[in-house]
Each structure stands twice: as C-alpha cells, then as structure tokens.
C-alpha cells in the first residue's frame, strides 16, 4: 500500500512539477496577487494529486493542470469578490493602436511609431496592462498568448465555446492596445515618438 502511494507521489512529482513555474506565473497573472497565487498553486497541485488516478498517461499534463487551476480560479477565487468584474462591452475601434499611431505625425511612417512604443515598453508595463483586464479576458489571454494553448484547449479549460474564446481574445487585445496607447501617451513615448519620427 505504502509502495503504491510512494510511487504515485513520485510519478506525480516527475510529471507535474516541471510545470510548477509556468503555472505559478499563470496563477500570478490570474490572481494579480502573490499570496493568492501561492494559495491557488498549492490548491491546484493538491487537487491534481488527489485526482491523479483520473489523469490519463500520455495526455497533456500541463493542459490538465491548467484546467484544474482555471476552474479553481473561476469557481472559487471569483466567488470571494463582493462584486463581479463589470465588462463594458463598448464597441472598440478596430486596429486601435494602428489608428492612433496614424493620427499622429507618424502617419507618414507608422512603423517608427510602433517600434518606438514597443521598444520602451517594459515587462512591468505589460504586466500592468494585463492585470487591468477583466478576469475573463485576462484568463483567455494568459491561456492563449502566454501558455500557447489552442482555442479548443482554452475553451475546454474555461468551459466556454470556441466562439466565446475568440470573442474574448478579440476584445481583450483591443483593450490591451487601447491601454498600450494610453500608456504611451501618459509616459510621453507617443509624443517623443512623434517628434523623433
């Protein structure tokens, strides 16, 4: 009995622990809070270990762990909020960042504008932009853009349809571009870019 249990722990450790860092990063991005991320990652691994017998050998362990974590986050962490995120479904301007850049002096050569903004964008800035997204959008971006999941895998992990995944990604990226432009304007990079462009 003990040998079986030990073997299970070793197998689990070997198979699941290699994803700990990746999942921790994901937990940080989801919860936007170090201590909640630590709780979430622990609960994820403990729950995964508990149901490890149900995991099929050879299937995608990272996707399986991600689904557990995403469900935990959606089902439990969100319930702690007194108010759900309000998602304002305003009609975004298509190609927001491109359009904004073209409204500036960059219009003759918008490539400079794009290059200038991205060159000055730090990791912390992009993390802040991501953190400002509503949960549903942020989760989709994390799974698709950071974790590299397919639409089907994101849909599976978040219990929505592929159409919803597409829609969330679309809107999330619009909001990110909008946030990026606001950041560029606030920090002066848009202006500097105009002058140097």
């Amino acid at each position: 009995m003990e040998i079986v249990a030990e073997s299970k722990a070793l197998r689990f450790e070997k198979e699941a622990f290699i994803y700990l860092d990746i999942l921790f990063g994901m937990a940080l991005r989801l919860t936007r809070n170090q201590s909640e991320a630590e709780d979430l990652i622990q609960e994820t691994f403990l729950r995964a270990f508990r149901f490890y017998e149900r995991f099929e050998n050879g299937s995608n362990c990272r996707a399986w762990l991600t689904k557990i974590m995403t469900n935990l986050f959606i089902n439990e962490y969100n319930r702690k909020k007194s108010m759900p995120d309000m998602i304002r479904l305003d009609d975004g301007v298509e190609y927001y960042l491109y359009e904004k850049i073209c409204e500036t002096d960059y219009i003759e050569n918008p490539n400079y504008g794009v290059e200038w903004i991205y060159r000055n964008l730090l990791d912390d800035d992009i993390r802040r932009l991501l953190a400002n997204l509503p949960d549903e959008f942020r989760t989709s971006i994390i799974l698709c853009d950071i974790q590299g999941f397919s639409y089907a895998e994101v849909a599976e992990a978040t219990n929505v349809t592929i159409g919803t995944v597409k829609s969330r990604l679309f809107r999330a990226r619009q909001k990110l571009q909008k946030g990026l432009w606001e950041w560029a304007t606030a920090t002066g990079y848009a202006l500097k870019g105009c002058m140097s462009g």
Partner: protein
C-alpha cells in the same frame, strides 16, 4: 499608406495570428500580408504584443519554499496513505492555517444537522459519501468505551438531544464542555455519519459506511484525530480545526469565508 480600409478584419487577423485560421484562408492572408504594408503593420502590432506578453510572463518562478511546501504535503499524504479527500484536507493544514482554537463546534454541529435534515441534503451527499467511502479503509481500532454509541436508537436520541445549539456549554475547568453530536446521511443504501464528542478533553471523528441495518450492528471505529483545515471540496466549503484535544468541523454550502467567520464566532 493610402488604403486604410483593407478587407481583413481585426478578428480574422487575430485568428490568423493564433494559427487557427483554415488552410485556404490562411494561404490567402499569407499572400496578402506580403504585399499589403498596412495589414503587415497591423499584424506586427498584434504579434509584437503577443510576444511581449509571453516574454513578460516568462520570468516568473515559483519561490523555492512553495515548491518544498507542496512536495512536503504530497509526501506526507503519500506516507500516511491519505491521498483522497481526507488527505486533501490534511494537506491544507499547511496551506491555510486557521486561528488556534480553545473551544469546539456548536455551530459546526448545527451546520451538519441543518445540511442533512434540510431539503438541500442531497447536495451534501457527494461530500460525505466521498469522505466515508474514500477513508473507510483507514478506519482502525474500536473507539474507547463511552465516547460513542453504536446503537441506532441511542444515536438518534443523542442527535435529537444534542442537535445544533442545544449543546451543553457549561464551563468545566475553564474549558467548554461539549458532549458531541452526530449527523447521518442516508444515501443510496450507504449511511455515513460524522460525529465528535468531547469527553475528558478528547474529541475524535468517526466515519463509517454500510447499509443502515448492517452499520449499527457493527462497532464504529476511530478514523483519526486531526488538526486544522479549511477549504472547499465538491462544491461544499468546510472549516475544520483541532486544538487542545478538541476538534470541530463546519460543512456547508456557504462561502468559505463565511464558514471561517462562524468558526471565529465559535472560537
């Protein structure tokens, strides 16, 4: 830059960026992007953003202490052979420590009783049956005499007497004196009961399963003496703690923090 009304919509470009576009459409866009400066720049904006996101998140590392803690919990669970629900609870001892307690669970019993007796009792079934079924194998040894009866009539009487807040809470040597309570789940011929009792500063949790007519013909056994846990499982929140030989559990479909508030009240 004269054609800003290109035919590729942003949503489609996103799908292309994610590699999810159908083959023929993808080929069309491949060709278009080679020749259209506007679309290629729009694509670059989206692609660079995606890339930046990935890079920004790639530096995250789980702290070493967190790795060790998770490993330790898993190893502990394996060593104890408690990888099921109960093991899950035990692991959570380290992940969510609660406040030390000096009293035991009057409201916990009320919760258990309310759950099992109320119309929502079926929602409780998975939790309790999981607990009972998964840990039946770990039951060992007979209970000390006098702690718990295995007589159905006596237990029912005991429940009726001690249900909910009708607990004895007289102070004895500075400690609350709890007499205990029990909850019964009758679910698909499986009966489980969770009970705790305070006697001479000792409280134990009992669980067992079996057909009703068989169950009470057997002696019930001690499952474990345990400490402090809280969390959520099968849609039910629980808060469970142990201090000074006293164990209390709250189980309910309230949010976890609500249960902890109640635990605070008890404490």
């Amino acid at each position: 830059m004269d054609n800003r009304d290109c035919f590729i919509g942003e949503e489609e470009l996103n799908i292309y960026l994610d590699g999810e576009l159908g083959v023929s459409r993808k080929e069309a866009l491949d060709q278009h992007l080679k020749s259209c400066r506007i679309c290629s720049l729009r694509y670059e904006i989206a692609s660079e953003l995606k890339s930046k996101l990935r890079v920004a998140a790639s530096a995250d590392r789980a702290p070493d202490w967190l790795k060790y803690r998770i490993k330790a919990r898993l190893e502990e669970g394996s060593r104890l052979g408690t990888s099921g629900f109960w093991g899950f609870l035990m692991h959570l001892l380290g992940t969510r420590p609660l406040i030390p307690v000096g009293a035991a669970g009057v409201l916990g019993i009320a919760f258990l009783m309310a759950i099992f007796i109320s119309p929502t009792r079926n929602e409780t079934a998975p939790l309790v049956t999981d607990m009972v079924q998964e840990h039946y194998e770990y039951l060992e040894g007979p209970p000390p005499d006098g702690i718990m009866s295995d007589n159905l009539h006596e237990i029912n009487q005991w429940i009726a007497t001690n249900a909910g807040i009708d607990f004895a809470l007289s102070s004895e040597r500075g400690l609350p004196s709890l007499r205990g309570a029990c909850a019964i789940l009758d679910h698909e011929d499986t009966i489980g009961w969770v009970g705790f009792n305070y006697l001479e500063k000792k409280v134990s949790l009992f669980m067992t399963k079996g057909r009703k007519d068989e169950l009470f013909g057997q002696r019930n056994r001690i499952l474990h003496d345990f400490s402090v846990f809280s969390g959520k499982c099968t849609d039910m929140s629980y808060a469970l703690w142990h201090s000074g030989g006293v164990t209390c559990v709250l189980v309910g479909d309230l949010p976890e923090e609500k249960l902890i508030e109640l635990a605070d009240l008890i404490i």
